[in-house]
């Protein structure tokens, strides 16, 4: 894989070890992720993919017993430093979860939420941002006539695209997605995949997925984890056709996991 210059690195983990209490779940992980690419994290359940993803926006901070060694660098800054305001960090880094989790508010309010908590009151700006974000997440045409309806009345696939719109409204530069399509039907999944493809132009995307074909279809690079180790990280093409490690080969071909 090509070496990245400091400027090209959007996200980086350096000698990262993560523990929950006494249990070590990530072991000396090193990775550098290039801007405007899609990176897939694959590996068997429990190997630490979600934990790793969540270190990039410090969502592990609330987990009891969480401890880490090593550094996480976002846009050249160590985000676990004291002076970093975690709320500011998370505005730059959107997150989409496994299960769609829209707020129990209207569709409009869901997308406007991020702006409102920042104290933005300008109605016109809010309306424009909501429209733009819903268009970006390919949901606008389906909901434009009933923005006042409860977000919970949408289908699962629509809810997930709403959650993406909600994240995009904050104009982040990074999107973290933790198995965003695993709870969805094939049609909704296809829509989300198309969307990720589109979004790549403007965002750096990291996606955890269980679905090998999905990783193959949408990602530029793939990282394979096994029991807390980053076994192999390379271009997706390479990982899927000619991986270096036998363990990767076995996983890809479905011999375990």
């Amino acid at each position: 894989m090509e070496k990245l210059s400091i400027k090209e690195k959007k996200l980086e983990a350096i000698n990262l070890n993560v523990f929950y209490g006494a249990k070590q779940v990530l072991k000396d992980v090193n990775i550098a992720i290039k801007a405007n690419t899609v990176t897939a994290f694959i590996g068997p359940s429990g190997c630490g993919k979600s934990t790793f993803l969540r270190t990039f926006n410090r969502m592990n901070d609330y987990v009891e017993g969480f401890r880490k060694e090593g550094d996480i660098i976002v846009d050249g800054k160590d985000i676990y430093q004291k002076m970093i305001r975690v709320e500011e960090l998370r505005k730059k880094i959107g997150m989409v979860f496994q299960k769609p989790n829209p707020f129990p508010k209207s569709i409009f309010e869901n997308v406007a939420y991020g702006l409102k908590i920042q104290g933005i009151k300008n109605k016109k700006l809010i309306e424009e941002t909501v429209e733009k974000s819903l268009k970006q997440s390919a949901l606008w045409d389906e909901v434009k006539d009933d923005l006042k309806k409860s977000a919970l009345s949408l289908s699962g696939g629509q809810q997930q695209r709403l959650c993406i719109a909600r994240a995009l409204a904050l104009e982040p530069s990074i999107l973290l997605m933790d198995e965003p399509a695993s709870a969805l039907d094939p049609i909704s999944t296809a829509k989300i995949e198309d969307l990720i493809w589109e979004l790549k132009q403007k965002y750096t995307i990291v996606i955890v997925t269980h679905n090998m074909q999905q990783a193959g279809r949408i990602s530029d690079n793939t990282a394979f984890f096994y029991m807390g180790d980053l076994v192999e990280y390379d271009e997706t093409k390479k990982i899927f056709t000619n991986p270096e490690k036998e363990r990767t080969q076995n996983y890809i071909t479905g011999r375990f996991g």
Binding site: N57, M59, Y62, E87, E88, L89, R90, K91, G94, M95, F97, K99, N101, P102, F103, P104, K105, Y113, G114, K116, I117, Q118, S150, L152, C163, R166, A167, L170
Partner: protein, 284 residues
Amino acid sequence: MKRVLMICAIITVLTTVGIVWVLFSESYTFFQHVSIWDFLTDTEWSPLSTNKHFGILPLLSGTLLVTAISMSIAVPMGIIIAIYLSEYAPKKFRYYIKPLLEILASIPTVVYGFFALTVVTPFLQNYIPNLAGFNALSAGLVMGIMIIPMISSLSEDALYAVPKSLREGAYGMGSTRLQTSFNVILPAASSGIIVSIILAFARAVGETMIVTVAAGNMANLTADPRETVATITAFIVNMSSGDVQQDSIEYQTIFAAGVTLFVFTFILNSVSFYIKKRFQEKYD
């Protein structure tokens, strides 16, 4: 066994029906002497004086005044405590403080009444001139404290039951803890919180001992919390414990007041039921 349960159920239903029947039949006799119109619009309540008046408004206003004061304490305090326990407090603290709060609710209400009369009123009199010895303010404040755990405990359950995924969604967008609590968790738990407020309201309207001891027994159409008032419940207690002759019109006022309380809580419950349904439609 099935029989026993059946009989228990029947006894309960019969008792309820019996109470309602007595209530309405006794008040029926009452309303043959006093027109419903006078009852609802007369601004004086003086069943024991020589110049008798039977207007329920002073008792109703007394009830509402004390209830409003208590709710203005209990609702904000109860919700703030619930948010603190659910969203901020360490697990251990929550584990110990919740039962402790519930003890507040198990103190006999007569104790609260005397606390209001002998501690709160004299204390407040230092700051509020013209505060009567028996007054709505002290009774309402103390009743508010008594009701806090009803609201905080049920609201906390509702807040705690909000799925973790919603909290993560909010934090993931850069919300602070405070923003998450008030903008996401609180609305998501609103139907449960409204239920807790309704139950507390009903409890406040029906509460008897505190007002009997500390608010006085003077039917008084007023909105001034410094004054002595009588609530419907306090009137019923006082009238039943005095020696009035059975089947006299004075005796029947007890039932007329009781019916009012009954209808009042019934309307309240219906309204709140309606509100609850609407909120539920909105949120889940």
